[in-house]
């Protein structure tokens, strides 16, 4: 979606145009769902939180002054809402079950190993402190720049870089402890 088109949709959404609201949701729903899922590692929680985030966004869109991009503002609300959720209540079943493991036959050994690593990675990410987890996901998974992350978390670019480095180091340590790395 072009920047101009998005700005136009945001202007219309501020006036209560439902079609504009729908278009913006279609644009960002998968992205926000993916981000929240990686934070919570629970699909049901992610679905509910995604809905809550969009309700919050469009009820308060009149307060969006346009100082940052709409995407940054959206991520900011999603991050704060999800961190509040994680602080108040740990996600129920923080790791998704991967289902029954296939027979460890030679042909599926790679699949088994991949799923094991993925499960460990999932667990390792959830063991990170909430803020480091958020920065790791925003940078490594969602591809936001440090400037955008600083806008989301309300900190300086330097702090974001340092926190991201700490997240990577901690994640590495956790995975080494589990003999994955």
């Amino acid at each position: 979606m072009g920047d101009k088109r998005e700005k136009r949709l945001v202007r219309l959404a501020r006036r209560g145009d439902r079609e504009a609201v729908t278009q913006l949701m279609i644009r960002y729903e998968k992205e926000i769902f993916g981000y929240i899922y990686r934070m919570t590692r629970n699909a049901e929680d992610a679905k509910d939180l995604t809905q809550d985030v969009f309700i919050k966004v469009f009820k308060n869109i009149a307060g969006f002054k346009g100082n940052s991009s709409f995407r940054t503002w959206l991520y900011r609300i999603a991050t704060h809402h999800t961190l509040n959720f994680l602080t108040r209540r740990p996600p129920s079943g923080s790791e998704q079950a991967l289902g029954s493991l296939p027979d460890p036959s030679p042909s599926s050994r790679d699949v088994l190993e991949s799923k094991e690593v993925s499960r460990h990675l999932t667990r390792a990410v959830t063991r990170l402190p909430n803020r480091q987890r958020s920065i790791l996901i925003l940078r490594a998974y969602e591809g936001l720049t440090y400037t955008e992350i600083a806008g989301v978390l309300g900190c300086s670019v330097g702090n974001c870089k340092a926190a991201y480095h700490n997240a990577i180091v901690n994640l590495r340590e956790i995975l080494k402890d589990e003999a994955i790395l």
Binding site: R15, G16, T22, I26, E29, F54, L121, Y141
Partner: protein, 202 residues
């Protein structure tokens, strides 16, 4: 340039994300890795870590769930506001439009043009006609044949000049205007217009 392990590791992370390192940074990184086994191990683990991160997928958000979310959000919103009335919209456009700095000069220019138009129209309406000028300039002693005799062909100016001191102003009158002037003279000075006063031969 000598950098700490933390800075070297930061450079490795940024290089993985596609950041371009300066020649000094590349040189510092290469030299550090040659002598620091801890950072060499970090580099190998980093490669593996990002491979796993890239392979880490999210369950897709199916269309049905996405539709449920959108409907729930729309239900929660208040009814859409009606567009503000035109004066408010116009006020908004004037206040907030990107061309706002040009608005006042443009409006002033348009008002000036309209005002100039009306002033010009009023002046044109009240400007005295040539026949009026001709009438006021008629000498009281003009000896001109009755205007009826000249309905179709007024005497040439050089003929008139033999009888009267025709003011220069009449040089510029065309035939129609001259006829109108002669008609008015005939009305005002009937004694002057006597048959035979002018034999038309100069």
């Amino acid at each position: 340039m000598k950098l700490s392990c933390k800075k070297i590791q930061l450079l490795m992370i940024e290089a993985h994300h596609g950041a371009a390192l300066s020649p000094q940074e590349e040189s510092a990184l290469k030299n550090h890795l040659a002598v620091c086994p801890s950072c060499r191990a970090f580099q190998q683990d980093l490669v593996r870590l990002f491979e796993e991160i890239e392979a880490d997928t999210v369950p897709p958000l199916d269309d049905g769930t996405a539709l449920e979310i959108r409907e729930a959000v729309l239900r929660s919103l208040p009814p859409g506001e009606a567009s503000p009335p035109l004066p408010d919209r116009l006020r908004g456009i004037i206040r907030n439009g990107p061309w706002r700095p040009l608005f006042v000069p443009a409006l002033t220019g348009v008002c000036g043009i309209v005002l100039g138009f009306f002033i010009t129209a009023a002046w044109l309406q009240h400007r005295p006609l040539r026949t009026e000028v001709a009438r006021r300039a008629v000498p009281s002693t003009a000896l001109v044949r009755q205007a009826s005799l000249f309905q179709e062909s007024p005497p040439p100016l050089e003929v008139l000049e033999d009888y009267v001191d025709v003011p220069d102003i009449y040089d510029s009158l065309d035939d129609t205007a001259m006829q109108a002037a002669i008609s008015q003279w005939a009305d005002e000075f009937p004694e002057v217009f006597q048959e035979g006063s002018f034999n038309g031969t100069g």
